[in-house]
């Protein structure tokens, strides 16, 4: 029962973060929100007793891909500054 309640709360948090990631105008906020979606999703996988998938999601989804997005945004901003 308590796991169900936690799962519902996490699901709502995932929805909220996904909406922030889509609708926020600031790219940095959107990237962090997308990373948080992955983090909550990995907790969700753990609750659904899939620890293998949870590990992958936590390491790749919220760790590596967030950093890669940050690198790309940084690069794009730099290029824009050069051309302006």
């Amino acid at each position: 029962m308590i796991i169900k309640i936690i799962a519902i709360i996490i699901g709502l948090a995932i929805l909220l973060m996904a909406l922030i990631a889509v609708y926020n105008k600031k790219l940095i906020v959107a990237i962090v929100a997308a990373g948080v979606v992955s983090l909550f999703a990995s907790v969700m996988y753990l609750l659904l007793s899939a620890p293998d998938v949870a590990m992958t999601e936590a390491a790749i989804g919220s760790g590596l891909s967030t950093i890669i997005f940050f690198y790309v945004v940084n690069k794009i901003r730099k290029n824009r500054k050069d051309h302006a």
Binding site: L64, V72, N74, K78
Partner: protein, 234 residues
């Protein structure tokens, strides 16, 4: 207006499909035929305490080889398109200083993350996790290191040598299974060992160590290529 109605209709249809397909009745009461076969015969045939590993490395080993190959292709394409002009750099690039907390913490935490990644892929046949997860954890340790010292460069020679050697060894182990045991990537050519101990499940630990090294070096290569693009032309 029409567009919004259409979107709402699609979402409702999707919800109906999901409700019909999965329901909220909880997990299935019975395994399907293939899963039942794996669950019943897996421990005695493969000898891995973690059944997911038995499926990924042995029963569906060819899929894993394909996944690793796709990851390799991705890494090499990224490396190809992000070729940096390192010769043009005369003045040392200027980067913002990292905070004291990050640089101090990374010195302590990064080795622990590397160790944990190695633990995850060495114990892939006993505990949750395995080559992919361990490799990803190793790569995230490298990310922490690169974030703490932006001027650090990763030696691409070492990464590509580790990557190629582990890829070749993975395929060779598969062929060894074909020659000495029942089929490609069969793990039975090494004795099964005692069920649940570290040296058990035949060749699975060896294969998983190579997969872990391969995935770790590929992801590290991607990240370090992207990190090098941050340095040029500031």
């Amino acid at each position: 207006m029409l567009k919004k109605i259409f979107t709402a209709a699609v979402i409702v249809a999707f919800a109906i499909i999901l409700l019909k397909g999965y329901g909220f009745s909880g997990p299935d009461q019975q395994l399907n035929e293939v899963a039942e076969r794996y669950a019943e015969k897996g421990p005695e045939e493969v000898g891995a305490a973690n059944l997911v590993t038995a499926v990924i490395v042995t029963y569906r080993g060819l899929d894993t080889l394909g996944e690793v190959t796709i990851l390799f292709l991705t890494a090499s394409i990224i490396g190809f398109f992000l070729k940096t002009r390192r010769e043009d750099l005369t003045a040392p690039p200027q980067v913002r200083k990292t905070s004291e907390i990050l640089s101090t913490a990374s010195r302590i935490i990064s080795p622990i993350i590397f160790l944990f990644g190695a633990y995850v892929f060495i114990n892939g046949h006993l505990t949750p996790g395995g080559g992919f997860q361990g490799g990803a954890i190793v790569a995230s340790g490298l990310v922490l290191m690169l974030l703490a010292n932006p001027l650090k460069t990763v030696n691409h020679k070492i990464i590509s040598v580790v990557e190629s050697i582990s890829g070749i060894s993975f395929v060779l182990l598969g062929v060894l299974g074909l020659v000495l045991a029942a089929g490609f990537l069969d793990n039975a050519f090494i004795g099964p060992g005692r069920f649940g101990s570290l040296i058990s499940a035949g060749a699975i630990p060896i294969i998983y160590i190579f997969i872990g090294l391969k995935v770790g070096s590929e992801l590290s290569g991607i990240v370090s290529n992207l990190q090098e693009t941050q340095k040029e032309e500031i």
